[in-house]
Structures are given as C-alpha cells and as structure tokens.
Amino acid sequence: MIKSGRYGQVLYDASATTPVEVISINAWKASFKTDKLDVTCFGDDNKVYVPGMKDVTGTIGGFWNSAAGASGVIFDGADAETPGKLKLLPNETESAFFWSGLAYLDAEIDCSVDGAPTISSEFMAAGPWTRDATP
C-alpha cells in the first residue's frame, strides 16, 4: 500500500546494536546503485555491461535540535571512528519494512538569519545492508 512520507523515521545507534529514533529529521534518501562494468567487445551490436559491486549511500536531513537524541547524534556519528547502525523506515506504521546496516556518517549544518538551522548528513555503508520487507 502507498503510505505517506510524513511518518518516515531514521534510527541510529553509535554502538551498532539497537538503533533509536533521531529526533527532528524530516527527510532521508538512500541509493543502492550497482557499478556496471563495460565488457563491450569487437562486433557487439551495442555496449554490453555486467554488474559489479553495489554501492550503498544516502542522505538524511532535518532541523537542528539541541535536545538529547536529536542532531547531536548525527554530529557524534560524524566524529566516530567506528560505524554505527542506521535504520531507515519509509513509514513507521509499517515497521516491518526498512533498510538497515552499518554506516559512516558525515554531517553539515546550515544556519541563516531568516529560518531555522537545518542539518544534513551523508552516509555510506560500512558493512552489508539489508532490506527487510516482512509482510
């Protein structure tokens, strides 16, 4: 069933065990692109590719929030030398559908005079990622 993104969720655990919700996040995006290796040979009618390695990267966005469990989690993750466990839900009412895996985080903050400061984070896999889709 199509669900609203309003109830999306981002969870993270720096110790890579049990992720908990990161507060004041309002967007996430994940990419699961697989490299395609060009194996085109003389005489082929068109270019030919074979799949290589899958890359898992993405972004997280939201408002800067000084409360515990909010933006500080992202910035601590950016400083960490070991990866945390990241869990991404399109909609919390379907909690069985999510992607998760170990990830390194980067962090940015954008503050301007006419709006609330926002944060953004890029993540990249630090281990195998899985998609859970239990009906």
Binding site: Y7, V20, E21, I23, N26, N65, G69, A70, A116
Partner: protein, 153 residues
Amino acid sequence: MMADTGAIDAAVLTRLASDPELLGYMPNGVYWGLAAQESLRYVIVTLATAADSAQFGQTAIEERDYMIEAVGCSTVNPAVHQAARRIHDLLQDQPLTIDGYGWMSTYRTEPIHYTDADDANQSIQWRHRGGFYRVQATPLRADAPRTPLVLTT
C-alpha cells in the same frame, strides 16, 4: 496532547495588552481582528499568514506573521508613533512564554505606516502605524521521541 496554535496568538495579545505604557498611548485596548465600536485609539492584531514546517510524524515549527497596528483617530491627536515604537520594543527579539511551545524568534518583517480618510467625514483621518511581526515557535513535543502512531479504522 497536541500544542494549541491559539496559544501563540494569546501570547502576542497578552504581551501587548498587559503593558501599561502601550495602553497609555492606546487607551481603548488591544483587539484581535476587530476593535470595539467607538474606539478611537487602539491596537489591532490580525493573523496575516501562517505556515508549519514538519519533521517526521509531527510539526517541527509553526511560523505566524501578525499584522499589528496602532490605530488612532485624528480628532483625539493619537500617539500612534509612540505606540508603534512601544509595540516594537515589546516584541522585537523578545522571548514569549507560549503554553506548549518553545519560543524561537520574534521579529518585524515589514513596517506599516499609512493614513486613511474616514468614510463618513473626509476631514477626519485614521492613522495606522506598526508592522508585520513574525513569531516562530516549536511544539515542545517535537523534542521527544514520538509515541508510535496508532491508526484507527
């Protein structure tokens, strides 16, 4: 419990209506939307625009732009300039106590200064001075993990 947006309106009105200096300039009082009949010196507050910003599952920020004017009739020599200055002192960058919210900012986005002729008597003028003021507030519950959403059927 959901934050009540009206609490932001109430905080602005309370700030203005409880100030003796402003009421000294505008003795007919501070009104929301429409002043009482026969008022000659008053402050009028109306909601010009409003917008909410979301975080996952809930409202993160409520932004409300108020048009706030000191209005005075020329027959009573109204101190609209002083009243507008006092409104600015009371609101500009001044924290508001808002039930259920955390205050973020209050600031003027545009000043107001114009004069109208009275509809019934063109020799009488109504002087308006004040500004558009933006209030940003965040519901306190936005600082806590959400209670899981329960869908009712």
